[in-house]
Amino acid sequence: MRREGSPWRGLGVVFLKELSDHLTSARMRVLELLVVLTALAAVYGAIQQIKDSTAEDPFLFLKLFTTTREQYPLPSFVSFLAFLVPLMAIGLGFDAVNGEHSRRTLSRILAQPIYRDALLFGKFLAGLATLAVSLVALWLLVIGFGLYLLGIPPGGEEMARSLVFLLVTIAYGGVWLALAMLFSIIFRSAATAALVTLGLWLFLTVIWSALAPAIAAIVIPPDPRYASLGLPTPETTELQTVLARLSPSTLFAEVVLALLDPTTRALGPIYLSQLQGAVVGAPLPMAESLMMAWPQIVGLVAGTIVLFVIGYVVFQRQEVRA
């Protein structure tokens, strides 16, 4: 059965309304403030560290994102992002649909000549655009801060790498936004949706990385021959990597590692054969780094799409009435 009219009708209207709601909401202001302050603190720490130990690093500027100050246990800029971007995305998405239910605006809006597609997709795009706007602003801020305090202009490849890093961070936010929206469709109470999403986020980010090795060791017990040599069993390690990569946080961390540290040669276990002939510590060309992280990047985008589609299907079948 073919529906009459375009599913995109009204998409732009919903997008602009939601975007303006996000950008003017108090919630967004608080999140932005949190992100900017912590990020600047981290970058400042990194700059102090870089100044103290100026080396002949060809990718000094990228160090801005990844270095931590040794004296203070302050996380680096990327670790802050890995932690705060999900929080921001969840903050933007957890009441996307159930909020319309509880405000009793959903049936009134859907009685206008638009399809549900436009409403859901418009909300998602608005959330993503809000994330993108804040992240681009943050990225520019960090680069400017670095230029000012380090006094070294970044090279072309450094800029390219950090730009890809920015795009990946947006995609990483997209996964959590899609997840938050999915739960906002499933759960009628915004508080429940927020708690479930936050719970799942904590589980995937904190607990899962500890749980993955344990599960791997149970499924494939370590071989005593390797153990006696003090080496990990390759099969166990492989399974552990596979399990850990189910979490978007792991994927993001791996992409960041490949992109911002050009000397990274492999993600996951390295075999001796891979190291033959390698000049340890020599940077890879950007295309190679990108190639290495490509599966992870695709994984993040695919995760976003899959979560959004599940939400879309549930939303289409849902009754308008509470």
């Binding site: 059965m1 529906r3 009459e4 009219g5 009708r9 009204g10 209207v13 919903v14 309304k17 709601d21 405000r103 009793r104 605006t105 049936s107 009134r108 809006i109 859907l110 009685a111 206008q112 000549p113 638009i114 399809y115 009754e319 308008v320 009435r321």
Partner: protein, 314 residues
């Protein structure tokens, strides 16, 4: 009668095993106010959602302005205004911003948008508070804002779900007057309500819902004749000898009930007050009260189910 704007034929809605709407058929003519009345949970809202294409139709057929709401929902929703039960607005936006958002969704051209919003708000007496946030609005103001949305949409049909619920008597009277105004503009109005008395006054025809079925359909007078047996019940209070027999002889009276000492209730085909008065006076009785009971929906509804109960028991 001109072509109906809404036609429902044997509409059925099933949720899993339960049947919420069970074979409902009715038509609504242009410019008519049609009431869907019945207790909560009788299937009124579900019927409305099916007509708007907001929920699937399990079986049966609906036509709204000649369109099938299941296949052409946009064509239907372009011409139909809907005021949901306990309508909600975006509290952080002003009244006119709320309407502006819907106006864009409807696709009203930018150059006439402001004019239409202002006119609609003035008509529901919200012109003064157009720039106030909806958060400060009372229940009645929100309902009126919902009505303004329908006016702005220039809809051919207005569907109002429980428009008077939660309103104080004065707000109800105001709202009902505005609904009559819609009819005056030639808009067909479908009202659902569980408050029979309030809505009775504005409806041209009503359908009484019970358990997902329409049990009665027609004008209030028709239903009265159908259910109460006669159209009129005349109450007589008079002192005198054997008045009951005298009243029974009045032409047009079908039955006389003695409801108390010197009190009689006449069931008649028409208003027999003059004849009854003459009969009492002619018999030398003292007439103290004479009144006619208008058939009210409440009475019709209750009586219908009493009769139904008797029939079921038999």
């Amino acid at each position: 009668m001109s072509t109906p704007v809404i036609e429902a034929r044997d509409l059925v809605k099933r949720y899993g095993g339960a049947t919420a709407v069970d074979g409902v058929s009715f038509t609504i003519a242009p410019g008519e106010i049609f009431g869907l009345l019945g207790p909560n949970g009788a299937g009124k809202t579900t019927t409305i959602l099916m007509l708007l294409g907001l929920t699937d139709i399990s079986s049966g057929e609906a036509r709204v302005l000649g369109h099938d709401p299941a296949r052409e929902p946009l064509a239907v929703k372009r011409r139909v205004g809907y005021l949901p039960d306990l309508v909600g607005f975006y509290d952080h936006l002003t009244a006119s911003d709320n309407l502006r958002y819907t106006a864009r969704l409807i696709g009203i051209a930018a150059e006439e948008r402001e004019q239409r919003i202002a006119t609609a708000l003035d008509r529901v007496h919200l012109g003064d508070v157009a720039e106030r946030r909806v958060a400060t609005f009372s229940r009645g103001m929100r309902q009126r804002l919902g009505l303004a949305e329908i006016l702005m949409k220039d809809a051919a049909i207005a569907i109002l779900d429980e428009p008077t619920s939660g309103l104080d008597p004065q707000a109800t009277v105001e709202l009902l007057a505005m609904i009559r105004g819609l009819k005056h503009d030639g808009v067909a109005v479908l009202i659902s309500s569980h408050l029979l008395e309030r809505v009775q006054s504005v409806c041209d025809r009503v359908a009484l819902f019970h358990d997902g079925k329409i049990t009665l359909l027609g004008t209030v007078e028709e239903l009265g004749r159908q259910v109460l047996g006669g159209g009129f019940a005349v109450e007589v209070e008079a002192q005198g000898v054997a008045l009951g027999d005298r009243l029974r002889e009045v032409p047009g009276v079908r039955a006389v009930e003695a409801t108390g000492p010197d009190r009689y209730r006449l069931l008649a085909e028409r208003d027999v007050r003059p004849e009854a008065a003459a009969a009492v006076v002619g018999a030398g009785g003292r007439l103290t009260r004479l009144s006619v009971e208008e058939p009210s929906l409440e009475v019709i509804y209750t009586r219908y189910f009493e009769n139904q109960g008797i029939r079921d028991a038999a």
